[in-house]
């Protein structure tokens, strides 16, 4: 199948760039016309509104659980429901995960099985964005332009028992109505551009709170595409270990506890879209890493002074 070819190159580490971000860009602007909703994550469910207006939407995402969580927003194709998504998509993913975990099949075989088991309409699912991983007790903000429709929000990290959070219950329907909001996007002081296969970070990365814009210039033809998770890492952290952790097909991949401290980011968006997230940085070393394509070079290893 066409999927996951990218993922099988798990040993490839390309385009790894260590930079010291250069100065310039805008200041953080938190005063943009506001349309904010709150989504709370816990083990293992979301507390969220059921219906919201369309348009630029800031999501304040708080992790009130005891494990790491993120938020991914998926838009099933026309005619497919939350129920279709839960049963048609999650079951194949969970089956593949069990085959990996319990039966010891290879990741390559798992990808083949997944490709065979997923419904054809899965390839028309749009991933609209979401947060990067945040730890228990943390809060982050993202801003996305949401069009009317029915969405699924989910988290597919794994708990300590090795069960996927979404299968445990961490998925929910979110309906965006035709009713418009008056909100506008925030002004970002740091711009991230994702492409094949690099991550450009433009702005003055210094200690303090930042608003990041994330623009997806292009996605690879195969695979899920690019996103950004931001992790604070120790000076001696092996980047390959973090890359390995980001692969959910690894037995301990995306499983609590994480080997590093994540502070948010932006999940997969459609090609051409721009979204925003906030994060507070301190002095030290950070990885900006794409979950599926980080090992192909879509990442940055940044030291903030």
């Amino acid at each position: 199948m066409r999927i996951f070819k990218i993922l099988v190159f798990s040993s490839i580490i390309g385009g790894l760039i260590t930079v010291k971000a250069h100065a310039q860009m805008h200041s953080t602007d938190a005063s943009h016309s506001d349309h904010t909703i709150t989504i709370l994550a816990e083990d293992y469910a979301f507390q969220a509104p059921d219906v919201i207006p369309q348009g630029w939407t800031t999501i304040e995402f708080s992790n009130e659980g005891n494990e790491d969580h993120f938020l991914l927003i998926a838009k099933p194709p026309e005619g497919k429901t939350f129920d279709d998504y839960a049963s048609g998509v999650l079951i194949p993913f969970n089956d593949v995960w069990y085959a990996l975990r319990d039966d010891g099949i290879s990741q390559e075989d798992a990808m083949g099985k997944l490709g065979a088991d997923l419904p054809e309409w899965f390839w028309a699912v749009e991933f609209i964005g979401g947060t990067g991983i945040i730890p228990a007790g943390a809060t982050t903000q993202i801003t996305l332009n949401l069009e009317p429709g029915s969405y699924v929000i989910e988290c597919y990290m794994k708990n300590e028992d090795g069960e996927l959070h979404n299968v445990e219950g961490m998925m929910r329907e979110l309906t965006v109505t035709e009713s418009p909001s008056e909100a506008s996007p925030p002004n970002a002081d740091i711009a991230i551009t994702l492409s094949n296969f690099e991550m450009m970070i433009d702005g003055d990365l210094k200690p303090g709170k930042h608003t990041f814009s994330v623009h997806v210039a292009e996605h690879p033809e195969q695979g899920f595409g690019h996103n950004v998770h931001v992790a604070r890492v120790a000076p001696d952290t092996d980047v390959r270990e973090v890359q390995r952790y980001m692969n959910f097909m690894e037995i301990d991949g995306l499983q609590t506890p994480a080997p590093v401290q994540f502070i948010g980011g932006m999940h997969i968006m459609p090609q051409g879209n721009t979204g925003y997230f906030t994060a507070e940085l301190e002095s030290g070393r950070y990885l900006f890493i794409s979950e599926y394509t980080g090992h192909l070079g879509v990442m940055q290893d940044v030291t903030i002074e």
């Binding site: 816990e42 083990d43 293992y44 469910a45 979301f46 507390q47 059921d50 009130e64 659980g65 005891n66 939350f82 129920d83 839960a86 049963s87 999650l90 079951i91 969970n94 069990y98 299968v167 445990e168 219950g169 961490m170 998925m171 929910r172 329907e173």
Partner: protein, 464 residues
């Protein structure tokens, strides 16, 4: 007499004969009352391993109360003092939880008061006025409830009102619904730890493909054309939620967990979640000699990814045969008002407790016997806001105190009812109001899908 009643919490009986049911009420053998004193119901109850024929032609190893599955009926009246001499002849600890009854903490049969193998315990409590209704008893040991109930430990309770608005001339039936799963040797099957089936059972709760009404599969009951019968129904299944309908007939729904409603309600079907009870009037509107079927209609209570492939199957539960007798000419008419239920008013509520239910957890916690999750004052009136944050039903049960559901998803409910279990479907919410009368203690609240309860989807309310 009262001294005797309340002094026996640690009484150990040296001689313990199994009580043999003498009479039959509502289709069930009744626990023999050993007391001749008015207002005292004194019975013996023993849990033991037995080998019984649950499925015709097959002997199955079970756990049983007084050698029966279900256990014999405890029949009492409002105002009675009840003494239950319980003996645990099981190879493991157990308790007897008197589901829905308002009684002292130490008599609740909660996980805090296990009765060890070979030990005895005497449960003693009073039946309060206004509590007439249908209840049930079952074990409640921590982490072992689903197993023990699945093995056969459950039985019915009827509390009678001396001034029951429904006449005792109505034929009364107690239908205890359960389901079970058997292996090829006819033994009760539980999924093996680590198996895929165990994962499904952990999520859905363990359902069986063999459905029982009392101790029978598809029993045949009779009714006379024109007759009205009073059915009391208990959902004793560990996980299955029943959507009950009687083909071609409506029910008059007259009561639920804590007894009769204020007003009867005509319904086509009822949904009965785990632990819940219903009282129905069944009108024999069919022709003499005909028959109809009580059915369990499809009900989607599942997470979409764990929904069984056969969930849309209708299950037949029993056959109701019309006798050949001529129709009864003067059918009974149900009173428009059955009783007055005292109102618990929102103005009196001093606290709102929010319960966020996820799969296996309440408020992000699993049960810890050494932790008190909620604390309240004796006599206080409070609101509980039960929020189901996941995509499957979770029936929420509070021990010790009957409550009144106020609203569901913000919509007020149609009438006051006494409840001890409220089913909250996926992503929905329900609020109830409760007053902690009479009894301080550590009271459990939990999901009544027994596998969830065992996983720790349970907490402790301390009333003091």
């Amino acid at each position: 007499m009262l001294k005797k009643l309340f002094f026996v919490t640690a009484l150990i009986l040296c001689c313990f004969a199994i009580s043999i049911a003498q009479t039959s009420v509502a289709g069930h053998p009744v626990l023999e009352n050993l007391s001749s004193e008015p207002g005292i119901v004194e019975v013996e109850l023993t849990a033991s391993q037995e080998r019984l024929s649950l499925v015709p032609g097959v002997e199955t190893d079970v756990y049983a109360y007084n050698g029966r599955v279900p256990g014999p009926l405890l029949e009492v009246s409002e105002g009675d003092s009840v003494i239950v001499h319980f003996k645990n002849n099981l190879p493991e600890k157990t308790t007897v939880h008197w589901h829905g009854l308002h009684l002292p903490f130490v008599m609740d049969g909660s996980p805090f008061h296990p009765v060890g193998p070979g030990e005895t315990f005497t449960y003693a409590f009073r039946i309060h006025e206004g509590t007439a209704g249908t209840y049930w008893y079952h074990p409640h040991p921590h982490h072992r409830t689903a197993w023990q109930v699945g093995m056969g430990l459950y039985g019915g309770i009827i509390i009678r009102d001396h001034n029951d608005p429904l006449p005792d001339t109505l034929t009364e039936r107690l239908l205890i619904l359960s389901d079970n799963r058997f292996d090829d040797d006819g033994q009760i099957e539980f999924a093996e730890t680590g198996s895929r089936q165990k994962r499904v059972d952990d999520m859905n709760g363990r359902e069986g493909d063999v459905l029982f009404v009392n101790d029978e599969i598809m029993p045949e009951l009779t009714i006379r054309s024109g007759e009205v019968q009073r059915w009391r129904i208990v959902n004793a299944s560990g996980a299955r939620i029943y959507r009950l309908a009687l083909e071609g007939h409506t029910f008059t729904h007259v009561g639920s967990d804590g007894g009769l409603f204020e007003h009867p309600v005509e319904v086509d079907e009822i949904i009965l979640s785990n632990g819940e009870r219903a009282e129905l009037l069944v009108y024999g509107t069919g022709e003499p000699g005909s028959s109809i079927t009580l059915r369990d209609l499809p009900y989607d209570r599942y997470m979409p990814m764990f929904r069984p492939s056969n969930w849309e199957k209708t299950n037949d539960l029993l056959t109701l045969l019309y006798t050949d007798e001529k129709p009864v000419q003067e059918p009974f008419e149900v009173p428009e008002t059955l009783r007055k239920i005292p109102e618990l008013t929102l103005d009196d509520a001093t606290e709102t407790r929010i319960m966020r239910m996820t799969n296996g957890k309440i408020n992000s916690r699993t049960m810890d016997m050494n932790r008190v999750d909620e604390t309240a004052e004796l006599g206080a009136t409070e609101i509980w806001d039960i929020r189901n944050l996941v995509g499957m039903d979770h029936p929420f049960h509070l021990h010790g105190f009957q409550f009144q559901v106020i609203d569901r998803n913000g919509e007020p409910v149609s009438q006051r009812k006494w409840k001890d279990t409220v089913n909250v479907p996926g992503f929905e919410s329900a609020r109830f109001i409760v007053r902690y009368d009479n009894y301080p203690g550590l009271w459990m609240f939990h999901c009544h899908i027994l596998d969830h309860e065992d996983q720790g989807m349970m907490g402790v309310l301390e009333v003091k």
